[in-house]
């Protein structure tokens, strides 16, 4: 069906109007490289909708549907059921939504899909705010981060969506990062082969929304992991496995300082954040059955 106007190496067009240095753009290429063309994608409105395209043109070479902001998981579940009754079990159904569409307005449909055990691969690309509408705070915006609706810094903690997902008892849930592509690809492969719902929550820096030099997107995502502000781990059949180190972490200020959204933080604020990270890391480490490798 697709009329190929410009060729591309993979399943994603190269010229897409995401911002320079976009973490989401980086991961969607690698994810679709792993999943291949026997995949159907559901994308809600948001930054990822730039890949849905405009008018006649799309930036994806696989079939897709742009749903509403809150029903990504529901449409994906319907697509899965439609293929299942026709015996087409080999197709991957990928739901690809941002943090707002996942942890806020889409959490009901997502929770339902998890609970029913539908075989859908749900990816949340987390850029930690409603970026496409102009950087408004979401349930995934971190504590104290400034957005256009939390201009003084977000006074509350973020939702821990990965734990919420895992609490449904789904067979596979994992966090990943735009800075650890090999780790991400392994997780996508695992999720693809999971017989049931799988959930990947991926940290994807946003230079525009976070206020940093686009060149630093990957370094910053890496700093998040190296400081423990973002932890890579998997929960497989209820068992937690750490994929990133929990010891000898760098101070969180390494991650916070380059970002405009945290520039108002006092030393005390940074101390508080550091303390919270230290505590959470201990919790994860005590639950983990292994030593981290990255």
């Amino acid at each position: 069906m697709y009329d190929i106007k410009n060729t591309a190496k993979g399943l994603v067009a190269h010229g897409v109007s995401t911002c320079a240095g976009c973490g989401l753009e980086l991961i969607i290429r690698h994810i679709l490289d792993v999943l291949g063309e026997n995949t159907v994608i559901v994308i809600p409105p948001g930054c990822a909708a730039l890949f849905s395209g405009y008018g006649k043109e799309t930036a994806l070479r696989i079939p897709g549907f742009q749903g509403n902001l809150e029903n990504t998981a529901a449409i994906a579940a319907g697509i899965r059921a439609g293929f299942e009754v026709q015996g087409r079990h080999d197709i991957t159904v990928l739901a690809f939504a941002g943090d707002g569409a996942t942890v806020d307005i889409g959490i009901q449909a997502l929770s339902g899909m998890f609970e029913r055990g539908e075989r859908v691969l749900y990816v949340c690309y987390d850029n930690e705010a409603y970026m496409n509408t102009g950087i408004q705070g979401s349930g995934s915006t971190p504590f104290m981060a400034a957005t256009t609706t939390t201009p003084g810094g977000k006074p509350s903690r973020r939702k821990n969506m990965l734990e919420i997902a895992a609490a449904h008892g789904i067979p596979y849930a994992a966090s990943a990062s735009a800075a650890y592509i090999d780790d991400l690809k392994k997780k996508v492969e695992k999720a693809k082969n999971t017989d049931g719902p799988s959930y990947l929550h991926i940290h994807t820096p946003c230079p525009t929304g976070w206020g940093f030099d686009p060149a630093l997107s990957v370094s910053l995502a890496r700093a998040a992991v190296q400081t423990g502000a973002w932890v890579l781990y998997e929960i497989e059949k209820g068992k937690l496995k750490l994929n990133s180190k929990t010891t000898k972490l760098k101070p969180v200020s390494d991650y916070l300082k380059p970002q405009g959204r945290f520039k108002h933080l006092s030393d005390k604020d940074i101390q508080d954040i550091q303390q919270e990270i230290d505590e959470y890391i201990q919790v994860l480490a005590s639950r983990s059955e292994n030593q981290a490798v990255i």
Binding site: A81, V85, G112
Partner: protein, 408 residues
Amino acid sequence: MKKEIRRMLDGNGAATEALKLARVQVISAYPITPQSPIAEKLSELVVSHKLEARYIRVESEHTALSCAIGAQLTGVRAATATSSVGLALMHEILGVASGCRVPIVMPVVNRALVSPWSLWCDHQDAMAERDSGWLQFYTENVQEVMDFILIAYNIAEHTEILTPAMVCLDGFFLSHSTQPVMTPDQETVDAFLPPYRSKNLFLDPKDPMFINNLTSPDEFSEMRFQQKVAFERALDIIPEVQNHFAGIFGRQYGLLEAHECEDAEVVLVTMGSMAGTAKYTANMMRKAGHKVGVIKISVFRPFPVAQLAGLLKGKKVVGVIDRSAGLGAQGGPLWLEVKAALPDNDTRVFDYVAGLGGRDITEKTIETIFTGLLQKVNKKDANPDAPGVCWIDTHPDAMSVREVIVND
């Protein structure tokens, strides 16, 4: 040769049976009074393999319709059903189904919208969705529930229509009222309704396309226009399909039905289960020498303007019963349509709001309306064009139904 059997079914049962006969393959349903028996019975049919389908026990009506759209785009008939606030929760997704031309057929068990909370019938739920781009059928009895659903599939999936359809049945009055229904056999229905094929947009990795992406102002109107054309074509195609149905099953339906209208001095326009009461009352009044007639609107979207105008040509006085309030408008939604269909200034059209929140529209209510309309013909009102809607069955003490104790 058709082999129909006569069964006792209620409206929900008939709707369920019709969805089964249409061989729906994916069902996503959420329970709501008075639709719940449809959601229950379908799950039972699936678990007992009487219907080969996937049943998705969704967590909301919003998801129910979203799932149905996703499933149908893969190339199967997907079904859901709802009522009242459930339909309201679907509102956003109704436009996706119609805009993406996904021809889902959905039974809507009419129930009042909040507030006040009501479990019972009126048409406000479906009327609130009258511009959602769905075809709307309204049924008078349980047989029509069965037949209109089968007919609706054939119309909705027509290559020139490709538009989803609601088949409305009055909550409790039809959904829970058991009536004898001629139930067709599967083979005959299969011949009337061939297996589903995606004729327009679909999701298939073997033939990929990206559906429902952002559309520019340069093309938006054109896509709405495509829908408008489908509705206009439906006015021709619905009667063709209804005739085809009549040829097979022997039951003839139309966009609307006229009862004793030819020589009638006054005609009352009705919709849904009230039509039966209105026809019965008209017969009684005719026996008493009053020339009254009834029109039943079976298809509200598209609205059969020309057919209605033809039937009402030359009539001096027409009444309309709206089973929804039309707050702030010049009249209820059905009245607005009837009024707009009759450019002839000689016809005076009077609106009666009745039957809200489960109030029965009785023979007495209909008789009161007919009597009033006849007076308008014979006596000429003092103020014939008086604006306003007559809330015919509302208690005179409406403004003081609650009196509370003052604490001060």
